[in-house]
């Protein structure tokens, strides 16, 4: 007779001393783990609920400006520094970790219109309503020294925006025309105009560094090559675009914030129709900034909210608002992909988490693992109606809620009318125009 009976040595299964961690032998046999799907679903549901519970995105408010915050700039080398310019011509440097202002300077008379940090991070440029471009040192002046710009350029017209080249000592401003400046010279090395118009924003392409794009007040977005003497091409839309931002990872895409409450992502090569139309705001969109991963972008709107959009989705995944925040004028996504900074009319800069439910600080490995696991589960079951309902629900201020509803009704009415017109017209005479094509008037080369 041969016999073997299960007989386990308890020493193999319990810890030796109290200082050890408990032993957990695993067996992944599916027969020992019944109801896999239902349990995962329950976990996903719990994770979704917890995510909503822990969604506390607002971190801090930086106050100190004495007028509305008109522009902001990220430091190119330093995560904890932020620059902001206000409508009274004041520029402030902030230490984000300590939530305090480290330096204040009166840069311009009137608005500070644009601000950019040089790629090396040692100095920054500002433009203002007083028709000047000023270059400032990043370090504060020593004791007894006066706060003075490194360099001042007096322009002929008002500048409304500026951006710096990624690698060279060249920067671009916009106003009545788009100018390219060499840092060493006091007159522009190149000027671009295309019809009489004024420009509201200009941005260098982060990858093809010689390319620029600007938003013009004649409802067009114009592309330039710095090496050529004339602009490349432009797309004219039904409404004016306020600002634009290049996708830092796929730099042939850019997103522009438009007056018609939408944002449009364009492919630089095919301007005749946007790749995606991002809807959800209920008022003009004033600013947009991409996350450094290029997967999402954040937009600031006149409707007093900030929205975060996945780059290829038509609707936002997140909306931030507070009772006190007024029209949001400028927005930045921090370079570590974790925070969002918004500057608004009521003189405050607000610091938000980019991922509302994320736990800040150093995570223990197990904590990180659990977070990753629940994230995956949420992704897996995101389309189940119950989970979807919980994950998508956001509380909105009353007026925005009602405005959204009203807009929906208006849109539906328009659609209905179009349908009726089509029905009573000769077949084919009223073609179906998709949402993407609707907003593009023409492309000019």
């Amino acid at each position: 007779m041969k016999v073997k009976v299960l007989s386990r040595n308890p020493d193999d299964y319990v810890r030796e001393t109290k200082l050890d961690i408990q032993r957990v032998p695993r067996n992944y046999d599916p027969a020992l783990h019944p109801f896999e799907v239902s349990r995962e679903y329950t976990r996903a549901l719990n994770a979704t609920k917890l995510e909503r519970v822990f969604a506390k995105p607002f971190l801090a408010s930086l106050d100190g400006h004495r007028d509305g915050v008109n522009c902001m700039a990220k430091h190119t080398r330093n995560l904890s520094t932020l620059l902001s310019g206000s409508c009274d011509g004041e520029v402030k440097l902030w230490n984000l970790t300590k939530h305090e202002c480290v330096r204040t300077l009166q840069a311009h008379e009137g608005f500070v219109r644009g601000m950019v940090v040089r790629y090396c991070g040692t100095s920054f440029f500002t433009v203002g309503d007083d028709k000047t471009i000023k270059q400032w040192k990043m370090e504060a002046p020593g004791y007894g020294e006066e706060e003075e710009p490194l360099n001042t350029i007096l322009g002929k017209t008002v500048f409304t925006g500026l951006d710096h080249h990624q690698k060279d000592a060249v920067f671009a401003t916009c106003g009545q025309q788009v100018d390219i400046w060499d840092e060493q010279r006091s007159s522009p090395i190149r000027s671009f105009t295309w019809g009489v118009d004024s420009f509201s924003s200009v941005r260098f392409n982060p990858v093809e560094t010689e390319l620029l794009a600007s938003c013009a007040s004649d409802r067009s977005i114009v592309l330039y090559d710095m090496r050529e003497s004339a602009p490349l091409k432009k797309v004219i839309m039904t409404m004016r675009s306020n600002t634009l931002c290049w996708n830092p990872m796929e730099a042939y895409y850019f997103t522009c914030s438009n007056e018609d409450y939408n944002l449009y992502t364009y492919d630089m090569r095919y301007l005749d129709r946007p790749v995606t139309v991002h809807m959800d705001h209920v008022s003009a969109v004033l600013d947009v900034d991409y996350s450094p991963t290029g997967k999402e972008f954040v937009s600031a709107s006149f409707d007093k909210t900030i929205r975060i959009f996945p780059k290829d989705s038509g609707h936002s995944r997140e909306v931030y608002h507070t009772k006190r925040m007024q029209h949001v004028i400028c927005i930045k996504w921090s370079s570590d992909n974790k925070y969002i900074l918004s500057g608004s009319d009521e003189m405050n800069i607000r610091l938000w988490k980019a991922n509302a439910a994320e736990k800040l600080g150093v995570l223990a490995p197990r904590e990180r693992q659990a977070a990753n696991y629940s994230q995956k589960l949420k992704e897996k079951f995101q389309h189940h109606p119950q989970i979807r309902r919980i994950a998508h629900h956001r509380h909105l201020p009353k007026n925005i809620y009602h405005q959204t509803k009203e807009l929906r009704v208006m849109k539906e009415a328009r659609r209905r009318k179009e349908r009726n017109v089509r029905k009573h017209s000769k077949p084919g005479s009223v073609p179906v125009v998709s949402e993407k094509e609707k907003h593009v008037v023409t492309v000019v080369k």
Binding site: V5, R26, D29, P30, F35
Partner: protein, 597 residues
Amino acid sequence: MASPGEAAVGNTHVGEKKKPTSRYWEEPQEDGKHENKVGEDGEQTERSLEKKTRQTHKAKKRKQEEDQGDGNKFISGKSDPFPGPAPIPEDRLQKFKRRDKTKKPRRQHYKLKDMIASSEEASEMAQKQAARLDLLLPEDAGFLEGDEDEDTCTISQEDIADVVDITSATKYFDLKLSQFGPYRVDYSKTGRQLLLGGRRGHVACIDWQSKQLMCEINVMESVNDVKWLHSEAMYAVAQKKWLHIYDSNGIELHCIRKFNDVLRMQFLPYHFLLATASATSFLQYLDVSVGKEVAAICTKTGRLDVMCQNPHNAVIHLGHSNGTVTLWSPNQKEALVKMLCHQGGVRSVTVDKTGTYMVTSGMDKKLKVYDIRAFKPLKSYFLPAGASCLSLSQRGLLSAATGDIVQVYRDVWTTPVSKPYMAHRVQRTIWGMNFCPFEDVLGVGHGEGFTSMLIPGAGEPNFDGLDANPYRSAKQRQEWEVKALLEKIQPELISLDPTELGQVDRATFEQRHQDRVKALGFDPLAKEKFIPKYKKKGRSSTGSVERRKRQVAHEDQRDVIRKTAEDKMKIEKERKKREKKEAVLSSQRSALDRFKK
């Protein structure tokens, strides 16, 4: 087949006649490997011949090429004798396979295609990892083999207990409890605790491995059934009138008056549901985490004293006196399935761990095995005395109680069984029987008390520490309890197919819409009735309103006519096409036409 570099490696092997060290993963595929080797050898000799003929002129150059061609070569000149990842046996991979590959979507869904590809890759990786880990599991299952011409069923328990180690030998024992007679038995989910319920009111819970008595009470009432709840801190006792819950110290926690005349109970551990079957033919579900009755179903089938659960999908199986077995979920007032299994009443039902097989025994003295997924009978056996009690172990051993004899069968569903695997006689009629999880032990409750038997090969050798850990500490138990409560499955999710939730909802829009119409009682997407707008300056007179209504109705009618006309045209077109085809076919004459009338 082999790259030149590999051939060079092979040559060195042949030359040295050195056998590679045998590895454990090579064992199951020994034959296949061997054949391969022969083939390789043949090829290599061929290769070497070829080499010799060519060596005369281009030897140097070829050698250089070889060296460059093989990237895997070590600098020392030796190469890895086991290149690549270790092979995983096919059967292990199969064990962890969740589902077949998804059909690839058409070309335009390129994003979906990428997504499916990446998720499939991930799941394949997980499957492989799990299969790899499976090789490293520490324990092996028990077994019992007789000598030549020795029947395993003749081996007595004493013999086994003599042979095995001391700890295992202590697992064979008898408890003489003749006073409060026949006993029901239940093991806790980890298999550490044993609960005994005597017909005449004696309830005892024992840590049976250390033989420590946790509590012992007499409820002074007849006891129909006992059941552990989710942990060893609480158990339920079905007494003469009501259902009572006690804690492990024997203190009565609840008397649940909603549950009367309970005869049998089952606990669904992942749903925290206690399902009870009563003499008044009610099947009731109690949520033990919140203490609420989830469902009470009147089965209208008389006294319910045969009950078991399907551990795979948490469906309750009830056996009835008319020979049917019915399947129940708390979400439906009627049975999910009714199966006629026996002529005469059903005496006992049990379902295996994977939810594939159901074993029933009836008054017709038959023991039947069903495939419960396809509802098909697989095997039917005749037991002279008929089995009053059935129980399946984790590894698929079936124990059947016939009078005072316990018979254990092996592989009842795959091969026709003629002899039991083991047999044992207890003093008096058997009343309750249960295999202990994760142990080779069968607990038998009978008129004289309780017998714990050794059944080698019954229990799952490797437990999962996060699910049911027999060696868990109090702290670990607390942790587990919180986790388990957090992922309590809602009773609404109980259905015949537990994976239904993870499948793509392919119900077409129309179907869903139809259901919605049925549920709402009206069609939410139906065209609204036209209500004419009120207009001023006398333009809303009855006549003009009527005229406007008529205009709209006329427009609608035109739409309908247009559509039907289009449909007709389409049908006509198709018919013509078909006729044309037929005409072409009929014009071709075949040799067989002359046989046609």
